[in-house]
Amino acid sequence: MSSVDEEHASLWALAVPPLIWATHFLLSYWTAAVWCAKFADAGGSLALARLAIAVYSALALAALALTGYQGYRRHHLEQRAAPHDEDSPESRYRFMGYAAMLLSGLSAIAIVYATLVVLYIRSCV
């Protein structure tokens, strides 16, 4: 099974879901901050910035669904459940899938929380 070989594995895979969150978070923050500082008048509406953040969220959640699903597939390779603690490339492969799946879930929760903000806050005040 070549796909579980070390050459195809990388620790960076674990960083992808949180990096999606980080990108979403920074983009949302900068969009809102720059919009309010440069484009909106005082007490102005967030209008476009809210829309932009909603779009970021949709994209980020779609990406996380993908990484989460991929992680789930790896985790369930040959129907073996956690703890994935054997000394074999397959077990390590399943473990990394499992961790990526969990990180995707956490990142998705954090993004949903961030999206709640633009549901309730409508202005730059």
Partner: protein, 851 residues
């Protein structure tokens, strides 16, 4: 990453079926001891091995804890009754500044690195971490910087701006040297902390025992890895900010002076971009100790190992999205507050996950009660309460009231003492036999626990109410009419009870134990590799490096102890009289190299003294002396690199046992040195990005930016400079290739060309703002441009020094076509130099064109 092909045994490796003859075992052991023994006499202080340096490091960090604790007691005496005059306002302000700063920078962060330096190699069955001298350098910097900072209060010269040093209070309004001591002293220590972090990252990734795949590593190593990576990204913002503030103080560049286009809020962004991750850098490695202790006493592997890894990584990331929750009251738009409020509540989830994993593990086992478990339970009780008040202050509206009051003081002491000090003391009782061969006293440990636990709650629980009743933090006294007199008196009494608990722990550690028997081997029946150690310990770390098959090898691998002791695994010998450890691949821990490690040397100490001289002399404004000291430091570091790193082995490879031959020298991405350089460059680049952030931050706060009066550096000189940077970078790449093909003339030609282009590139970059007469003291815009240029030129300076070093090393035969680590690392630095230069040019020349 690719690793050079090594002869890999197929299938799972078994230890030697037969033990080597006893005479050979004895000879091997003698050779190992000979090689790994610490030097004696005054040369002892040249030791670099983790078993020495790690212990000094830990002890010194605890000393600083006690020092800062004494300051806290003085403050509690002052606050015991209203309108007290036990301390003067000025001393009180110094006391809380030094208390907070020392606890954060001289205790909490160093203790993580210190404990990790002691424990990580043991847990990973390594003989030492990959860069022992770097760890020693880190320790000496810590010692020098720490004494400098702590000593200042005895001369009434200590910083008094609060541990977060908000300008303009700390710029224009405190002309004494206090803030300089803080800014330069801590920058020095932060650089050392980053050095240790580099060591830990590479150690966790590359120095594991064969077979310890990424799904099998001890949880402590996961946490330490995450914590160390966080340091690499969290400290640079503070270093960048400190640099700006010091440059403002010393040379009047107005980054934070609102009258000249600066903004005090920029400091707050940079500071908290460091400051919030910092809290988790403290918390994660401490809770990591709990993650080792809990399975031992539950007699069960950690339930939810994957969840704990999720928690460590998830918290690590999320903690970088919380910084604005320290700035809720600065008048930012509600949407910004909301976003940071969302992230601040989300981070509670992974934090809670860890505790539930611990609970699930305890429930899955039959718990053996012990002193470490008692401290763990105390930690849990305290930290959970601190976490809950953390969720409260994460909600922006509540924080409007709680911010900057004693409520917050209570909150973060619950988090830090529950999340760090209690676990550390649990760890002290648990791991003490590894360091000192004997157990601490159960009786004293229990007494200490109850004193500390009761004293702690007595001190800090009332503070929640003091804060909500209107007591701001950092007040040297308060009036009776607030109704906080009784609460404060209770806190003061509690502080002394807590101190008594800590004193009992100190006594337990210091009391003579010669008559006490050695602890049995693996005294707690733990499952992880650090407990392989014999009592009393031998200097070699581990007798032979085992093949690992499980997360808890001492529980699951039969005869493991015997096989290790009899030298049936890897590297059972030191035939050549050299310090050696195994380097393995990142994901699956396949052995790839036998790494030679440097032995004792005074060079780290001398380098720390001279580099430290730069910061100390700089504090007093003696810049010439400072730069001289720095130059000597660079020279010493070059000597250190020349004599101690990338040495040519006497043969290309060696038999490390079990029929495995490994190379003794690898360069490029396969070498640990390359990874160390890479991580260091990431840190430097992060600091640089923070300066770029400052530029664009000014753009958002100003109506017109660049301001109308400023000419800007133009685009011609910056563009010329960029082309020259490109040329120098290409020449450096060519030089490395030519060397690899042994085309000597081409190599020298390219390397000399690279140096020439470099000088021209630096000059051209400086020519931009010089020819347009940009004055960095006039406006924050000009200061930002100058700082970007200065940083880029300094980065270039580093690259030039490395290139020159390689040129000399090639001429001296130290670099050859086969042995070219230095060239690879230099090329890597050049990649980052080019990236920095390109961004600088895009910002200073491109952005004004675009607007």
């Amino acid at each position: 990453m690719r690793e050079q092909d090594a002869e890999r045994p197929s299938g799972d490796v078994q230890p030697l079926a037969e033990a080597p003859p006893e005479s050979l075992q004895r000879a091997q052991a003698e050779r190992l001891i000979e090689v790994w023994d610490a030097p004696s006499g005054w040369r002892y202080w040249s030791a670099v091995n983790n078993t020495e340096v790690g212990v000094w490091y830990t002890a010194l960090a605890f000393l600083f804890l006690l020092y800062a604790g004494v300051l806290a007691l003085l403050m509690r005496i002052q606050l015991a009754v209203p309108n007290n005059d036990f301390l003067s306002a000025d001393f009180y302000n110094q006391a809380f500044t030094v208390h907070g700063s020392v606890m954060m920078f001289l205790f909490a962060i160093p203790i993580f690195e210190a404990v990790a330096v002691v424990l990580m190699p043991q847990m990973l069955g390594a003989r030492d971490l990959p860069f022992p001298r770097l760890a020693a350098f880190g320790f000496w910097c810590f010692l020098i910087g720490g004494i400098f900072l702590c000593g200042s209060i005895f001369f009434d010269a200590a910083p008094r701006g609060g541990w977060f040093m908000y300008p303009p209070l700390t710029s224009a309004f405190q002309p004494d040297i206090g803030p300089d001591i803080w800014l330069l002293g801590f920058s020095f220590i932060e650089v050392a902390a980053i050095a240790s972090a580099v060591e830990l990252i590479v150690g966790a990734l590359k120095c594991r025992p064969p077979g310890m795949r990424i799904n099998l590593i001890p949880l402590y190593a996961w946490y330490a890895l995450v914590g160390a990576i966080m340091i690499v990204f969290a400290f640079p913002p503070l270093i960048a900010g400190s640099m700006m503030l010091e440059v403002e103080r010393a040379f009047h560049w107005p980054f934070f002076d609102a009258a000249r286009g600066g903004d005090p809020l920029l400091w707050q962004h940079l500071f908290w971009l460091f400051g919030h991750p910092e809290v988790y850098i403290i918390f994660l490695p401490s809770i990591a100790l709990v993650a080792m202790i809990v399975p031992t006493f539950a007699r069960k592997p950690m339930v939810g190992y994957g969840w704990v890894v999720l928690a460590a990584i998830g918290t690590g990331f999320l903690s970088f999205g919380l910084w604005v929750h320290h700035m809720y009251t600065t008048g930012l738009p509600g949407v910004s507050l909301g976003l940071f409020s969302a992230a601040s509540t989300a981070v509670a989830i992974p934090t809670g996950v860890q505790f539930f994993c611990f609970l699930a593990t305890l429930l899955a086992g039959r718990v053996v009660r012990s002193v470490p478990m008692l401290w763990v339970l105390g930690s849990l009780a305290i930290f959970v309460l601190g976490g809950l008040t953390g969720v409260m202050v994460a909600i922006a509206t509540f924080d409007f009231q709680a911010h900057d009051t004693y409520f917050v003081v209570a909150h973060f002491h619950y988090v830090l003492i529950g999340g760090a000090i209690f676990p550390l003391i649990a760890g002290l009782y648990y791991f003490y036999p590894i360091v000192a061969d004997r157990k601490l006293s159960d009786r004293l440990g229990t007494i200490a626990f109850w004193l500390a636990f009761v004293g702690f709650n007595l001190t800090f629980l009332p503070m929640h109410l003091s804060g909500l009743r209107g007591m701001p933090r950092r007040v040297f006294t308060y009036p009776s009419q607030l109704g906080v007199d009784d609460l404060n008196l209770t806190s003061s009494v509690g502080a002394f009870v807590l101190a008594a608990g800590i004193a009992v722990v100190v006594w337990d550690v210091l009391r003579p134990k010669r008559s006490q028997p050695y602890a049995p081997r693996n005294p707690w029946n733990a499952g992880t590799l650090e407990w392989v150690q014999d009592m009393p310990a031998k200097p070699w770390g581990i007798r032979s490096i085992p093949e690992i098959d499980t997360r808890y090898p001492l529980w699951d691998q039969p005869n493991l102890l015997r096989d290790i002791d009899e030298g049936r695994f890897y590297l059972p010998d030191a035939e050549e009289g050299k310090r050696e450890t195994l380097v393995t691949s990142v994901v699956d821990a396949q052995p790839v190299q036998c790494q030679r490690l440097p032995g004792p040397s005074f060079l780290p100490l001398l380098s720390a003294v001279t580099v430290g001289g730069f910061f100390v002399f700089g504090t007093f404004g003696w810049w010439r002396l400072a730069i001289l000291s720095f130059m000597v430091g660079i020279g010493l570091i070059c000597v250190w690199l020349w004599t101690g790193t990338a040495l040519h082995p006497e043969k290309p490879d060696k038999d490390v046992g079990l029929g495995l031959r490994l190379p003794l020298y690898l360069s490029g991405t396969a070498s640990v040195g390359w990874w160390g350089t890479f991580v260091t460059m990431l840190a430097a680049f992060t600091a640089y990005v923070c300066i770029v952030f400052g530029y664009f931050f000014f753009w958002t706060v100003h109506e017109d930016f660049p301001p109308a009066h400023a000419s800007g550096p133009g685009w011609r000189w910056p563009l010329v400079s960029l082309l020259l940077f490109l040329a120098a970078w290409s020449a450096t790449l060519l030089a490395r290739r030519a060397n690899a093909r042994d085309e000597v003339a081409l190599h020298y030609g390219a390397q000399l060309a690279a140096l020439g282009f470099s000088v021209a590139a630096g000059a051209a970059l400086l020519a931009g703002p010089l020819t347009t007469h940009m004055d960095p003291t006039r406006h924050a815009y000009e200061a930002s441009v100058w700082l970007l240029v200065a940083w880029t030129v300094l980065h270039l300076g580093l690259a030039v020094i490395m290139s020159a070093f390689c040129l000399v090393a090639r001429a001296a035969g130290r670099i050859t076509a086969r042995y070219d680590i230095d060239l690879h690392n230099t090329v890597l630095v050049w990649h980052f130099t080019l990236l920095t230069a390109a961004m600088t040019v895009a910002v200073i020349a491109g952005f004004p064109l675009a607007t």
